[in-house]
Amino acid sequence: MVLITCLSNVAAQVGIGRIMGGSKFHYPVGQPELPPEEELRWRVSLMEKGLTALETPVQEPKIF
């Protein structure tokens, strides 16, 4: 599992292995200031990063 949240330090304290900071607190995987096609491109690259995190073995909480 990879967790995308603004509160990444709390996730680390709880022991989550794979953590990503995402965008902002109110829209962790959104970029509303961008036009729709650019926002989708950004989101795809964020998800790609998430999948790479999933493929990465970890022993301790890691912020990607």
Binding site: C6, L7, V10
Partner: protein, 428 residues
């Protein structure tokens, strides 16, 4: 900078033909109040009620409380920025009625148009009984303004109206004609003290996040601003006003204005320490990086002021705790010894981890108690401000019946639990 406080206190509160303070007895004329707020309350009906400490009275749907304070010298107004152009405050002379609150209660006209996070939370004040030690304001007299807006009033308009209505009434009461009886006089100043005394700042983190969860400084939202230095005297003059309706965890306007942490540090100034003043910061920043930076900026400002130590308090919970802890960490990293005050969320049966976020640097915590513990709350004889209690959007409750609930139902309870001396401990 020096502020002279001229303090009156009540022993009696009643309605009367005129608004006047005779000794310790205040009579209030509704006609006088209506005249004060003429033009401010379009579309809003106001029911005026009184409440006194120790009475079996429950005030519901409380949005804010305001202390009667008025300048009695100079041209500035208390609560700058809400009635004409703002002027600097914190000097000259201010008249106060120290144990009276103008209490605004009511419901927004269009809750269905609000996102869940904007919706005001229920906050009740129990003037007696089990709930009193949890209810901010239970030890004050109250002029309750119970507001009902008709459907032509928008939420924004209601929000923007209730503040000036309450602030005007508060100023007006402080300026009431006074006869018989001498006020107490005090001075708020940060006089020069011995060099050897440790220098201490108060770190004051407010919530100013979105509509219905805002804090104003000289009438401007404290949002996305850098932390700033505020002289304690400015607090006494109402420089900070609350627009935050997260009732149990907000700092009411009257508490900004009459804050026991500021009072305690002023009391100890020159004796055990050198109180440098207050650093005002904003919590609930919306990325981890911003939270971390807010902490760094607070720490750097404290260091630039020459602080050796800090007492830290915050408004809110959850998300805002992360900004708070980043501030504590950053101060400790800058060599500023920090004590942080916080409530605990140990769960109804006490098993849960106390804090949302607890870095190792936060090694000197002061507890306000477990805010998730259930309390058996019997009814009180009189209910002011509404016909039901909103159990935080999950159900409504008839206030004439007892119920089991945690302190989050009480207005200003997180701060009040602290000043009531509650804390949490391990018990079997």
């Amino acid at each position: 900078m020096e502020l002279e406080l001229v303090d009156y206190a009540l022993e009696e509160l009643r309605w009367g033909e005129r608004t006047a303070l005779n000794g310790k007895s205040l009579s209030i004329s509704v006609a006088d109040l209506e005249k004060q707020i003429e033009g401010l309350s379009h579309g809003i009906r106001i029911d005026y009620r009184l409440a006194r400490p120790g009475e079996s009275t429950r005030i519901v749907h409380v949005l804010d409380t305001v202390l009667p304070i008025a300048k009695s010298s100079g041209s500035s107004l208390t609560f700058p920025g809400f009635d004409g152009p703002a002027e600097l405050v914190g000097t000259g002379r201010t008249t106060r009625i120290t144990n009276l609150l103008v209490t605004v209660a009511g419901r927004f006209p269009h809750p269905e148009l609000m996102t869940p996070i904007e919706k005001p939370r229920e906050g009740i004040i129990d003037m007696a009984g089990v709930g009193a030690p949890y209810s901010y304001g239970s030890d004050y007299f109250h002029l309750v303004l119970s507001l009902t807006a008709d459907s032509s009033v928008s939420n924004a308009s209601f929000d923007q109206s209730l503040r000036p209505i309450a602030l005007r009434c508060a100023r007006f009461l402080a300026q009431a004609e006074k006869t018989g009886g001498e006020p107490e006089r005090n001075t708020v100043a940060l006089n020069q003290v011995e060099e050897r005394l440790p220098k201490v700042v108060l770190l004051y983190q407010v919530q100013s996040q979105l509509a219905c969860a805002r804090t104003f400084y000289y009438g401007e939202e404290v949002s996305r601003t850098l932390p700033t230095f505020v002289h304690p005297a400015e607090f006494f003059d109402g420089a900070l006003v609350s627009g935050n309706y997260k009732s149990e965890r907000k700092i009411p306007t009257s508490l900004h204005c009459n804050n026991p942490f500021i009072a305690e540090l002023l009391e100890r100034h020159g004796k055990a320490m050198n109180f440098l003043g207050v650093i005002l910061s904003r919590g609930y920043n919306d990325s981890f990086e911003q939270k971390r930076k807010m902490g760094l900026w607070v720490a750097r400002l404290a260091r630039n002021l020459g602080a050796d130590g800090a007492v830290a308090l915050m408004e809110g919970t959850g998300n805002g705790t992360v900004d708070f802890m980043q501030t504590v960490k950053a101060c400790e990293d800058e060599g500023i010894k920090t004590v942080a005050v916080l409530h605990e969320s140990n769960g109804p049966k006490g098993y849960e981890r106390p804090l949302v976020d607890h870095p190792k640097e936060a090694d000197s915590m002061i507890s306000r108690g477990n805010v998730s513990e259930k309390i058996y709350i019997p009814p009180l004889a009189t209910v002011i401000g509404g016909a039901d209690i909103d159990l935080h959007l999950k159900a409504t409750h008839d206030p004439r019946l007892p119920f089991l609930f945690d302190p989050t139902i009480f207005f200003g309870s997180y701060g009040k639990m602290g000043s009531s001396g509650f804390r949490a401990v391990y018990q079997n």
